[in-house]
Symmetry: C7
Subunit: 102 residues, 7 copies
Amino acid sequence: MAQAIKRILPTLDRILIQRAEAITTTKGGIVLPEKSVGKVLQGTVVAVGPGARNPQNGNYIPVGVKEGDRVLLPEFGGTKVELEDKKEYILFRESDILAKLE
Amino acid sequence: MAQAIKRILPTLDRILIQRAEAITTTKGGIVLPEKSVGKVLQGTVVAVGPGARNPQNGNYIPVGVKEGDRVLLPEFGGTKVELEDKKEYILFRESDILAKLE
Amino acid sequence: MAQAIKRILPTLDRILIQRAEAITTTKGGIVLPEKSVGKVLQGTVVAVGPGARNPQNGNYIPVGVKEGDRVLLPEFGGTKVELEDKKEYILFRESDILAKLE
Amino acid sequence: MAQAIKRILPTLDRILIQRAEAITTTKGGIVLPEKSVGKVLQGTVVAVGPGARNPQNGNYIPVGVKEGDRVLLPEFGGTKVELEDKKEYILFRESDILAKLE
Amino acid sequence: MAQAIKRILPTLDRILIQRAEAITTTKGGIVLPEKSVGKVLQGTVVAVGPGARNPQNGNYIPVGVKEGDRVLLPEFGGTKVELEDKKEYILFRESDILAKLE
Amino acid sequence: MAQAIKRILPTLDRILIQRAEAITTTKGGIVLPEKSVGKVLQGTVVAVGPGARNPQNGNYIPVGVKEGDRVLLPEFGGTKVELEDKKEYILFRESDILAKLE
Amino acid sequence: MAQAIKRILPTLDRILIQRAEAITTTKGGIVLPEKSVGKVLQGTVVAVGPGARNPQNGNYIPVGVKEGDRVLLPEFGGTKVELEDKKEYILFRESDILAKLE
């Protein structure tokens, strides 16, 4: 029977990202119409895989982002993952992540 | 003549997974309508192959999951395998497995 | 002139497999209608090639199955080969073989 | 919640470029009609990633352009990035950059 | 001016094969209708190239068949070559040859 | 603002070529109709990039043509570049250049 | 201005071949109808490039044919080159050449 998922450990060079929630009200407090709120292309790294395999010897090559990093996401791609907390998680490959954000 | 299959030993980096059964009743015991019960994307590793070959020397590169691991599966892909116990088994390549679950 | 074929020696990482014959009667002896008897995805290894070439030095990398092994076949692919004994033989590449069976 | 972006650190061999603004008036001061002002294929490097990974050992291979370089851009491709300053930024891979300009 | 071809030396890992002639009469001497005589998938190796190049150092990797070997051919592919003797010759790459026959 | 381009330094294995001007009059001085003057497939190398990267160690592999070489161009491909002098420049990859001309 | 081409030096693993002229009359002197004279698939090597680059170190790997060799050409592919002498020249990559002829 499918059980509750407490923790996700991405495989290989996969990165689990929690997508940032969209800003739905302006600084002045005006609620933005839902249609104008596009997909948020930012997120926070929740978990990282051990890395891609080095084709020469099979060792893992650690990924270049770590838990807690804020990252810029591509508009498309990734695999949606649903956890119990109903937040939106996505699995990306390391090479899909566009940039780290500060 | 095709004989009964007692044990399956996946080749190379293939992983044999038994798909978790869907939860068809809510915690309160209400039976969910079949249509609402989507494909279960969780499963348990039943057997693993020796690993992909290192192109440099032909040695096997052991896979990163082992028997008993709970894993997150992609929605598509894999090869269905029927055994005598009528449970649902699927063969995936290691790189298809999205994550390990705890 | 095309001569009779006594022995087939597959090249490179090709594997010659004799497909198991379908079970056409139930244990109780009832003859199954032909349509219900799907393609048998099991077979026995009859001969193996020397292996794929190591791209680094050209040496052969021995395949991971041997004569007599029972194997699980993919539903599609492979090259049919007809020998004089009218049994069904198929040539697969090593990487196509899904699993060994016990 | 999506936060303001102060700094973008491109990943791998990605290069963040600010596209040069189009020249909309001739040297004589005549305002060019918008349609005649094509996409500007020049820009300035704002930030560079650590570089692509060396497939042999996983180390980064530093990119061949640096912050401040003026570069020639291809007409298509790249990923648009919007920052708070409303200027036009684009992320390209190193191998997409056509040339450095002096 | 195009001259007569006495000898063909295949390049790289190409193999020149003379296709076996079809058996057009049964052992009892009955002439088979032409339509029932499919393409003969057997042939004899007439000449072999020096081999594919080792990508590491450019050396040739000798092919695994030699002059005189009887081989099993795929149904499709290969390049037809006409010589003066009007026999049917075909050039295959080593990796296309399915098996050696004894 | 987009500035004038004094010098172009192609990246990686790109080669900047100035296309030779078409011969529009015969030796006898007759002006050829424009339609009969096909695209000129000759040009002169104006600038070369540092070379493609060696995938093993990231070093550049110098290209095989140099400034001033006359080269034979393929009919298609390349990226047009406009400079202030209104001459026709094109960026090709080294492997696109068909031959050097003397 | 496009100048006359005295000599062509193919780049990398390209081979310049002069296609043999078709035999348009039988040994008995009868002129063959043009339509029956197919494309001549023979030619003579006029010039060879330095060779493809070894991906490991960038060195050239000399090609396996030399000036004066008679070669068998594929029916399609190659790049036509026109020189002043109005003969038909074609540029092929080494791996396209099917065989050497004696």
